[in-house]
């Protein structure tokens, strides 16, 4: 530096300026790494709980059910039916036939019933993925010592069966199909309710409303509403949708479920409307931002050829704001997807084995299911909760990816 021909008093502090820049750069790197670290811990913890060895004890050892030395896994359907008839009470067999005649059931179904009701596997102990990988010897020793009759299996709690099975009180057979379907129904109702209303309100506030104190008040209030805790919306939903509007939300007004003794307003409709209400301010704010980002020159161009306000908004402003509106809305919906508190308050069911069939069905949702499982004392349900969290994260990731794709595909230059 001393020999530089550029040397002057202005350059004397250059090393110090570089040093300051370097320090800030390190600070930013550290904050980024800290974020990545904690997120990785979260993900590792969940994955760790989602897979691992389990010790299974059986009511009857499956080997003892073998017919002529053929294990039950390889028996033909007819033999399985006989085996089932022999090992369950006549009353239970009658019930099963009443549900669906044996002729109409396939072999795998009958085998599953035998395993569940005759073999009766019970999870004695579970281990995490890390333990399963690094301490296998120890686990085998523990099983031999504590559960001499148990079988050691590697269980992927997150599996296709888990995703497609309905809720069950037996952790080995419990799944999240009803919860996923419930969540999707909720989202459907929330989207149909919140997207048009939110976009409409944003268009009015941005394009049509004047600059009066009343509009300033409305704008400020919407911004505040976006920060209201979600449980408040749950209380609102309980009071308005579940209680006050019960004839509508329970479906009674439309002739639904009139025979049901448990008819009430704790339905998908109530839940979806509550979630819609929750994200309405977020959608309005996002849509306003998107509309504001449309350059004024475009509006002037439209007015300049004699378009009316509505023609300008409809043909030019709105089409150019749609990518922004969509991105913001999808992000709002992914927030609603993970919302638990309002659904707990309006009384979502925690144990539902039947798929929702209409907006008037009782429902459970993924976050409710996770919440319910984590509050159970048995270890196995923690594993189930972890697997459900992975599914929830994957669905959220998908929604966000869709938002990004939409933004990239439709974003325009002016």
């Amino acid at each position: 530096m001393k020999q530089s021909p550029l040397e002057s008093k202005f350059c004397e502090n250059l090393p110090a300026r570089y040093r300051t820049g370097g320090i800030w750069r390190s600070v930013f790197i550290i904050s980024t790494l800290t974020g990545i670290f904690f997120l990785s811990i979260l993900l590792l913890k969940i994955v760790n709980d989602s897979f691992g060895y389990i010790a299974v004890e059986y009511g009857i050892a499956p080997e003892s059910l073998a017919v002529d030395g053929v294990p039950i896994w390889e028996l033909p359907k007819e033999d399985l039916v006989l085996l089932l008839q022999k090992n369950v009470t006549p009353g239970r067999f009658k019930t099963l036939v009443k549900e669906l005649p044996m002729e109409e059931r396939n072999r795998d179904d009958i085998l599953a019933i035998i395993v569940r009701e005759v073999v009766e596997p019970k999870v004695a102990q579970t281990w995490t993925l890390a333990e399963s990988i690094f301490n296998k010897q120890e686990i085998v020793a523990t099983v031999q010592e504590n559960y001499p009759d148990a079988e050691l299996d590697f269980k992927a709690w997150l599996s296709w069966d888990f995703i497609t099975s309905p809720q069950s009180s037996d952790p080995l057979y419990a799944g999240i199909r009803t919860a996923i379907l419930g969540s999707l129904w909720l989202m459907g109702v929330a989207i149909i309710f919140a997207l048009p209303i939110g976009t409409g309100a944003a268009i009015y506030l941005e394009e049509f409303a004047g600059k009066g104190w009343l509009n300033d008040l409305i704008r400020t209030n919407i911004n505040n509403l976006a920060g209201v805790p979600s449980i408040i919306y749950g209380i609102l939903g309980l009071a308005v949708f579940v209680r006050a509007m019960e004839p509508i939300t329970s479906g009674a007004a439309f002739g639904y479920g009139l025979t049901s003794a448990t008819l009430n307003g704790r339905t998908i409709l109530s839940g979806g409307l509550t979630l819609g209400l929750l994200i309405l301010p977020i959608i309005i704010i996002n849509a306003q931002e998107a509309l504001r980002a449309v350059p004024n020159s475009l509006r002037e161009a439209s007015y300049g050829v004699g378009a009316t306000k509505w023609q300008t908004v409809w043909s030019h402003v709105l089409p150019n704001a749609i990518p922004g509106i969509m991105t913001g809305s999808i992000l709002a919906f992914s927030r609603a997807f993970g919302e638990t508190a309002p659904l707990v308050v309006i009384g979502a069911s925690t144990y539902i084995v039947y798929d929702p069939t209409s907006v008037f069905s009782k429902f459970t949702a993924l976050p409710i299911q996770i919440y319910q499982w984590t509050s159970r004392p048995q270890d196995e349900f923690r594993n189930l909760a972890a697997a459900a969290i992975l599914v929830l994260l994957a669905l959220l990731l998908t929604m966000n990816a869709v938002a990004i794709i939409i933004r990239n595909r439709y974003s325009r230059r002016y």
Binding site: G210, L298, E300, A301, G304, V305, G306, S315, H316
Partner: protein
């Protein structure tokens, strides 16, 4: 100032026109008569209210909140600011081309066809698009890519597309707000040639910073200037044939400005 031109050849006239932004008077006592089928240039230093005045001629200024005017703008014998007049119709009959080319983010064809369609044009749309693009001297350059986005064109082409878009609704007056200030000299020249062609059918009012452009392209020139003392509002200090303004200006300030002696 008395009305400078009063004959039936005037299409547009402002009478004691004052334009306010809130309480601030931006333009003061403008009396201007725009002659039919001529190019009238409005020149003057930055911030003297040229664009504000131009936008008052087709009520575009109303898009800015808190704007109001005093006085009258007479178009074909009607007061444009009369309560019974719809600003949408005003803008339809007095079109506008802006400083920054602002084609719609739609195809070239749609850029021209859209305005005609919203006004209920029922004729042959292809013919109208071709006619308008030909009038704007753009047809030969874009006839093979009408489906492409208007934004894919160069700046000069975009500006001519905006002119074609304005022509498509057959306005009587075209207001141009520094239409060439964002363009290079060649594109600027094309726009100026175009104005000479267009004035056969339309009346053109152009705001420009470029005095050579005013001298080359206009028939009449209005010189605007901020008042020296008191409220800082702009007004027309001299209005005459362009030739007179640039060779024998009556006003000392005009002379200083057009000869480049003005700061």
């Amino acid at each position: 100032m008395a009305l400078l031109q009063t004959s039936s050849s005037n299409i547009l006239e402002s009478k004691n026109l004052n334009i306010y932004y809130g309480n601030f008077r931006a333009v003061r006592d403008v009396n201007l008569s725009i002659e039919r089928n001529k190019v009238t240039a409005i020149i003057g230093p930055s911030g003297c209210g040229k664009s504000t005045l131009l936008r008052a001629f087709n009520r575009m200024n109303e898009l800015v909140p808190d704007t109001h005017i005093e006085g009258n703008v007479i178009f074909e014998g009607q007061d444009l600011y009369d309560k019974s007049i719809d600003p949408v119709e005003v803008r339809y009959r007095i079109g506008m081309v802006f400083q920054k080319p602002n084609p719609f983010p739609k195809s070239i064809y749609e850029n021209v066809a859209w305005a005609a369609r919203i006004h209920g044009y029922k004729g042959n749309m292809d013919a109208l698009v071709e006619f308008s693009l030909r009038q704007a001297a753009l047809w030969d350059e874009v006839k093979d890519k009408l489906k492409q986005s208007g934004l894919s064109l160069s700046g000069g082409q975009q500006q001519r597309l905006c002119i074609a878009r304005t022509i498509a609704v057959r306005p009587e007056v075209i207001l141009m707000d520094e239409p060439a200030s964002a363009l290079d000299p060649i594109a600027t020249l094309k726009i100026e040639e175009l104005m000479q062609e267009l004035k056969k059918n339309y009346t053109i009012v152009i705001v420009t910073h470029n005095m050579q452009q005013a001298a080359r392209a206009s028939d009449y020139t209005a010189m605007m200037m901020l008042s020296k003392e008191g409220e800082r509002s702009g007004t027309v200090i001299e209005y005459d044939e362009t030739n007179t303004i640039f060779t024998r200006p009556k006003n000392k300030q005009t002379e200083d400005y057009v000869t480049g002696r003005f700061g």
